[in-house]
């Protein structure tokens, strides 16, 4: 796509998002906020999986840490401003990541994945047991949601779902943009090189563990922002946000959307939101449908939704150039069958 087409598409999406509550009503507004939260969560995950080649089974830790930090700040700090609560969420996740990074930055592959599973289980148990702080199974709920206030300029009530929609979307889309930009910087180039061949990165003059620690911390920070917005949106955070199911959500979304592209996980989040919305009208067994779709995608479209789009584009437009062409010819996935599923160089 040319720069101009990209600009137009971006503009149209922004206008649709701005008018969305007016077009579709408040119920679907809430659906899209949830979807955007998970989109950011999945994108933060893909910074590790698709970009750096790090497979984690415990990314919900950071989502939960963000949620709990925000909930605790709003519960215990009198008159805590909205943005400060959000900052607490971000810093909560970053602090946890900094704590773990000296250990995990030197790991990769299954050790990295399993250690995250262990740590996230530990945190899950702590969240259940430390009732005095976390509220145990009930979690922390009913905390006040402060207005968005710039002293002397504006004060917007955030208990109004419409206002919160705009706030949440601004934060989430802003974070997505920052994450996207990050992948375009020289640093973004170094992390994909680590994914491809970390040994050679060392021989090109870059420090690998430090690079991993930085992208890890940033990724977790984004997950923390997603968790923070989630806690404010639900006005509740409970141990479920730290659980295994929550850790698998971004994995599955990234797989279904497409690990190869920055936008894949966003598509994954959208697809799952749509499936859930449609399925719940007929049956409660949403996970059955989601599971089936995951199986089909893994078997037939290992590149995810982005892969399907590339095939369709190829058929319709006779695409022979660029990454789409590579996908169709199986260059990206054919050779990699059975290897760790890492892509992400859009």
């Amino acid at each position: 796509m040319t720069r101009r087409v990209k600009g137009i598409v971006g503009g149209v999406i922004l206008v649709i998002l701005a008018l969305y509550p007016w077009l579709f009503g408040i119920y679907f507004t809430n659906v899209i906020v949830t979807c955007a939260i998970f989109a950011l969560f999945a994108v933060s995950y893909n910074l590790l999986l698709g970009y750096t080649g790090l497979f984690s089974f415990g990314h919900a830790m950071f989502f939960g840490a963000g949620g709990y930090a925000t909930a605790l700040a709003l519960t215990h700090i009198e008159g805590c401003p909205l943005l400060v609560a959000l900052l607490f969420g971000f810093l909560g996740a970053v602090a946890l990541a900094l704590l773990l990074s000296p250990i995990v930055a030197r790991l990769a592959h299954s050790a990295f994945a399993m250690l995250h599973l262990a740590f996230s289980m530990l945190l899950y148990t702590l969240a259940l047991k430390l009732r005095g702080i976390t509220g145990g199974e009930d979690g922390i709920g009913g905390f006040p949601i402060p207005p968005f206030r710039i002293p002397g300029v504006v004060s917007v009530d955030m208990t109004d779902p419409l206002n919160f929609y705009y706030f949440a979307m601004a934060v989430l889309c802003g974070s997505l943009w920052v994450a996207w930009f990050l992948t375009k910087t020289p640093f973004g180039q170094i992390i994909v090189s680590v994914r491809d061949n970390d040994k050679r990165v060392d021989y090109m003059g870059f420090k690998v563990p430090q690079t991993k620690a930085i992208i890890y911390t940033l990724s977790c920070g984004f997950a923390g922002i997603a968790g923070s917005i989630y806690a404010m949106f639900q006005n509740l955070i409970s141990a479920a946000a730290l659980g295994i199911a929550q850790s698998f959500a971004p994995i599955v979304m990234t797989m279904v959307g497409g690990v190869i592209s920055f936008f894949g996980p966003i598509w994954g989040a959208v697809i799952f939101a749509v499936i859930e919305e449609l399925t719940t009208r007929y049956t409660e067994r949403v996970q059955l449908v989601e599971g089936l779709i995951l199986i089909i995608v893994i078997l037939f479209f290992p590149g995810g939704f982005i892969h399907i789009v590339a095939i369709v584009k190829g058929k319709l437009l006779g695409f022979t150039r660029g990454k789409g062409a590579g996908l169709i010819k199986g260059k990206w996935f054919g050779k990699q069958a059975g290897k760790k599923p890492t892509e992400g160089d859009s």
């Binding site: 910087t185 003059g205 420090k207």
Partner: protein, 248 residues
């Protein structure tokens, strides 16, 4: 002056001695070939010098500084480049991106979060210049894994040179190449290492004698002989241990 020197270098893998009192001296500006039969310890010597692992005893001097056990990224920053016997590129990145990593490294652009790398025009220009010099400009946007074997090897060698090192360590640059590819690679190496110091592990004697100013023969983990090509060719011990069987 010796730009690279090892003194009494020993290395063992679980007590299996691979390097035994190696005293290598590489003069500035020369093309120094290291030859020897399989298992002589050539790649291990490279690994110890470039920081893959620390030697069990002995010292490595680079530009007069003790660098024993320094990590690879530190050696690169001090001005040492290395290529590998088994091609080791960033396979899903394009040829351009592979070379650009070296250019970024040399310019010290590491943790830069505020500019798009594609917008750094001087970096792009410099990378493109390197690609043209190594005849890979036509394959600029191809993933490294999709390059032909010869071109992939050229990329491998050029990545070591993209950081503009003072000393470049090439581990069997012509490994697995056809006769034509080898001839091309030798010319490429000659061109790219002009004015630099190069240490080259090589099996192909034609390559060694056409490229090297100085040859060190490694045998059973220790230096058997070291000198200019003519002397090495005539050396009795070398003939017995190595060259004889090759030429015979």
């Amino acid at each position: 002056m010796n730009i690279l020197e090892t003194k009494g270098l020993y290395h063992d893998f679980n007590r299996l001695e691979v390097l035994f009192d190696v005293n290598l001296k590489v003069k500035e500006g020369e093309r120094h070939a290291i030859i020897g039969p399989n298992g002589a310890g050539k790649t291990t010597l490279f690994n110890v010098i470039t920081g893959t692992y620390a030697p069990s005893r002995g010292a490595v001097f680079f530009k007069g500084e003790v660098v024993t056990g320094a990590k690879p990224h530190r050696m690169v920053r001090l001005g040492m480049g290395r290529s590998f016997q088994i091609t080791s590129t960033f396979n899903r990145l394009t040829a351009f991106q592979n070379i650009r990593m070296g250019v970024l490294s040399r310019r010290g652009i590491r943790f830069n979060f505020f500019r798009k790398v594609d917008k750094m025009e001087d970096i792009t220009r410099e990378t493109d210049e390197i690609l043209k010099r190594i005849n890979l400009y036509g394959e600029r946007n191809m993933p490294a894994s999709a390059l032909s074997y010869g071109k992939h090897r050229s990329l491998e060698i050029s990545m070591a040179l993209a950081t503009d090192p003072d000393v470049v360590m090439l581990d069997e640059p012509t490994a697995g190449m056809s006769k034509d590819e080898t001839r091309y690679a030798v010319e490429l190496i000659r061109k790219l290492t002009e004015g630099k110091t190069a240490v080259i592990i090589e099996h192909d004697m034609d390559v060694v004698f056409s490229l090297a100013d100085h040859i060190t023969v490694l045998h059973l983990g220790t230096i058997l002989a070291s000198g200019p090509p003519d002397k090495i060719r005539k050396n009795k011990a070398v003939k017995d241990a190595y060259l004889g069987e090759m030429e015979g």
